[in-house]
């Protein structure tokens, strides 16, 4: 088997929460050595957020943290101490890549700005990711992806037209930004491999998130239109909604995008008399009578199990069960692609990780280990990456600058 894509690449992951850790995870799952900084004094908020194994809160018991940090080694550092900051600076000299997501200015305070680090490590690629970028009037505003999803327009365009906007689940824009950060970072690594030159990258989650809205920004700038929420409807498709099925809160999504598909769909429904009415004959007439159309379709779907109906309609008609999280583990396609990967965590035991969304034909993405406990691998990292003696490590641990928790404590 060929080497993994990032075999030999050394990554110092000083970031936390979502975007930075997920960016580093792409590298870690594809062969890079990624050391993740952690501390129980300034704990990553994901470690205090659910889900927890058996519902029991604990820094080393959160799979919110876990899922974003597999395939990495954990180094525990209390950055309030000068000794820990010195270790962080040495790690920055060891690294090919540094990721950070502190409030702009923090890294410079610690002597870890790009200018500081690149003096003796000119090839380093350093990526800063934060909500709104390193510069500008709101550079220092802290926040979470939930707020950024609101700030960048996602809530305004979600929900029912007759009601207030509704939040999209989670820190939505984190899961847009992390692919922009990863793409830019690897492009910079590729450039470095060709030219020997490292560089500094500043990515604002806000700016990444608005990329998905390019056409909407243009629509406003040339036509003055402002997109807003439209429930599940689509301007050029009907039926186009989630319809109720047998069971509590069970639904199927159906999308009919042409008059041909409408005819096929009518057949699938057994050609009911109501569907022959002229008011449903064309896309524009179905759009005009969409509420009644949806009611009729809902009556038909409500006698079905949503998964059985999905398989009855596909592949002729675009249909899909509205899956809850249990469903995802039974989804035949998800299983076929081996998406969820069970790994043995030091304290949580066997837990499921989200796997890879891309299957590479020659360098299969490999989740190499479960996520670390806070500082679980501190000793190994300091020995192998920085060549520290056991005695030196013991002193740092005793002073509290370096932290080790979990099985190696």
């Amino acid at each position: 088997m060929a080497d993994l894509i990032f075999e030999g690449l050394k990554v110092w992951d000083m970031s936390w929460v979502g975007v930075g850790p997920l960016t580093a995870r792409y590298l870690a799952d594809n062969g890079a050595t990624v050391v993740r900084m952690d501390s129980s004094k300034r704990v990553d908020i994901l470690r205090i957020s659910p889900p927890f194994q058996d519902g029991k809160p604990g820094f080393n018991n959160s799979m919110f943290y876990g899922d974003f940090n597999c395939s990495k080694l954990g180094l525990g550092l209390d950055m309030a101490t000068e000794e820990a900051r010195e270790v962080a600076r040495e790690m920055a000299q060891w690294a090919d890549v540094i990721l950070e997501s502190f409030t702009p200015g923090n890294m410079a305070k610690w002597g870890l700005s790009y200018a500081d680090v690149s003096k003796d490590n000119p090839g380093v690629v350093m990526l800063s990711t934060c909500m709104q970028g390193q510069t500008g009037p709101r550079a220092h505003y802290p926040g979470f992806g939930n707020l950024m999803a609101s700030n960048s327009g996602y809530y305004e365009i979600t929900g029912w037209p007759d009601a207030e906007p509704v939040p999209v689940y989670g820190a939505y824009t984190d899961f847009i930004a992390h692919r922009f950060t990863t793409t830019a970072l690897i492009a910079a690594l590729d450039h470095k491999a060709r030219t020997g030159r490292g560089q500094y990258i500043d990515i604002s989650q806000f700016e990444a998130a608005v990329q998905y809205f390019g056409p909407e920004v243009l629509d406003y700038s040339v036509n003055g239109n402002t997109s807003t929420r439209a429930g599940n409807s689509d301007p050029v498709a009907a039926p186009h909604a989630a319809y109720p099925c047998v069971g509590e809160d069970r639904w199927i999504a159906i999308a009919i995008e042409s008059d041909y598909e409408w005819r096929v769909f009518k057949e699938k429904m057994g050609n009911p008399a109501w569907a022959e009415d002229a008011k449903f004959a064309t896309l524009s007439s179905r759009k005009e009578n969409e509420d009644e159309l949806n009611q009729q379709v809902a009556e038909w779907t409500s006698g079905w199990n949503n998964k059985e109906l999905q398989y009855f309609l596909q592949p002729d008609i675009a249909a899909g069960a509205v899956q809850d999280q249990f469903d995802l583990y039974e989804d035949a396609q998800t299983l076929y692609r081996g998406y969820f990967v069970d790994l043995e965590h030091s304290e949580m035991g066997k837990v499921p990780y989200n796997g890879t969304q891309t299957l590479f034909s020659k360098t299969p993405t490999t989740l190499s280990k479960a996520s670390p406990c806070v500082g679980e691998d501190s000793r190994q990292v300091l020995r192998d990456c920085l060549g520290f003696t056991d005695q030196k490590i013991d002193t740092l641990v005793a002073s509290g600058a370096v932290e080790i928790t979990g099985p190696n404590a």
Binding site: G55, Y141, E156, E164, V166, F180, Y212, Y220
Partner: protein, 427 residues
């Protein structure tokens, strides 16, 4: 005042300048090539002779619903060169293979298996150019029981699990109204392509990257997927409220001129933020004693688990905020929040975003010249890189606009042959 997409900007090499990428995608995959093009790769967009069907997707420039005025096409194909090629014809295939021999990557978003069926699958491309990276962006992936399923955005939203968690619990689950599924799939395609290129450069070995847009979208479930296995439960949608360990807080609040979003948390996450709200509110209104005297910083998830009754304080706080916020407009609330470090944000409209002071200060918006309008405002560079340019490309191409530049000037097709290919509708 917007930055201009002048020659100085796209004359500077980007990080990916040495790469040439053939972009066969339709609207499902356009973003992948755009992201890589923004970083300097040469993107050759290959369309059918009649044009990419995505050219007919609205919104349109001033309601001109033709092949040259789709704003979706404009944005996602900005900076690309455009050639037309009939891949169903033998001559078209032969020309494509010649392009593959000189290219670094191919990105496509046809239905699973289509490239194989026309004799242009990965094995064929690999035989022509072992270094080639081929990225396929589809709804569900190249193989498996659902590979042949239809997967427009609504179906991806349903099957990936995000829709179940979105919307009013009293009403059906709802998708994000602007389609997202293939955006995630295409962005994942950009990541996979650059990963494949990085590997191919050092090893000489290309490969096939098979992207599932369903799974790329499901990453947005954030922390939800492990719940069944760790806590034996599935999260439910909570609409404009959010739930933390059994305690409910409102997320969306009316302002004088729209809405704002507030993250209400106790403990380390948000205790200070709540205290800052009271400090601000205290200047104009009376804050109820009960709320004022609560130790919000001490009220984290663990404290609520210990004493669930305390969770109700958050609901009371939410109700009080429902009366407080409508006294102010979004801009005022956000300005106070910035000053006082309160965790909230406006529910921005697209209009708000276009005028956002932070985006404007970072020169995010750029003007791109079109025949119809010499300064159309685009979202511009999404990264600032110290060594390599992030490009603001020229306007998206017309059908076959760069045929001559590519086929004649670059590939050496003779003028006579070029004319014949055009007449035979191969290009």
């Amino acid at each position: 005042m917007n930055a201009q997409s002048d020659a100085a900007s796209y004359g500077t090499p980007g990080a990916l300048a040495p790469y040439r990428i053939l972009d066969l995608t339709d609207h499902r995959g356009w973003l992948a090539g755009k992201m890589l093009g923004d970083l300097g790769a040469e993107i050759i967009k290959i369309e059918p002779v009649d044009g990419d069907p995505g050219r007919h997707r609205g919104p349109f420039f001033k309601e001109k619903a033709d092949a040259d005025h789709s704003l979706k096409w404009w944005f996602f194909n900005q900076g690309k060169q455009g050639i037309s090629l009939n891949l169903d014809s033998e001559e078209g295939k032969a020309l494509f293979k010649k392009l593959v021999a000189e290219a670094d990557a191919v990105i496509e978003s046809f239905d699973a298996g289509w490239m194989d069926s026309i004799g242009l699958g990965y094995k064929t491309l690999e035989a022509i150019n072992p270094k080639i990276v081929m990225t396929s962006i589809t709804a569900f992936g190249q193989g498996g029981p659902h590979a042949g399923f239809k997967g427009p955005d609504l179906i991806l939203a349903a099957l990936c699990g995000t829709m179940y968690l979105c919307g009013d619990p009293e009403r059906p689950p709802v998708r994000i109204s602007v389609p997202q599924g293939y955006m995630h799939g295409a962005a994942e395609g950009a990541v996979s392509t650059i990963m494949g290129l990085y590997h191919a450069r050092s090893t000489g070995i290309g490969q096939h990257a098979d992207v599932s847009s369903q799974l790329a979208y499901s990453r947005a479930l954030m922390n939800a997927t492990p719940f069944p296995k760790l806590e034996n439960r599935s999260l439910q949608r909570t609409g404009i409220w959010t739930e933390s360990v059994g305690s409910f807080r409102r997320v969306i609040y009316p302002a004088k001129d729209g809405f704002i979003t507030m993250m209400i948390n106790g403990g380390l996450l948000g205790g200070k933020s709540i205290e800052a709200i009271f400090e601000w509110a205290g200047e104009t209104v009376e804050v109820p004693e009960k709320l004022l005297n609560t130790d919000w910083q001490g009220l984290d998830a663990a404290a609520i688990i210990q004493d669930p009754a305390k969770g109700l304080l958050f609901t009371e706080l939410s109700e009080w905020l429902m009366d407080f916020y409508p006294n102010f407009d979004k801009e005022t609330i956000y300005a106070e929040a910035l000053k006082r470090r309160i965790l909230l944000a406006p529910v921005s409209t697209i209009a708000d975003i276009c005028e956002d002071e932070q985006l404007v200060a970072r020169e995010y918006f750029v003007d791109v010249a079109h025949e119809d309008d010499d300064a159309v405002t685009y979202p511009g560079p999404w990264a600032k890189m110290s060594e390599t340019a992030v490009h603001v490309g020229a306007r998206a191409p017309h059908v076959g606009e760069h045929n001559r530049a590519i086929f004649v000037d670059k590939m050496g097709v003779s003028e006579v042959e070029f004319k014949r290919l055009v007449e035979a509708r191969v290009i």
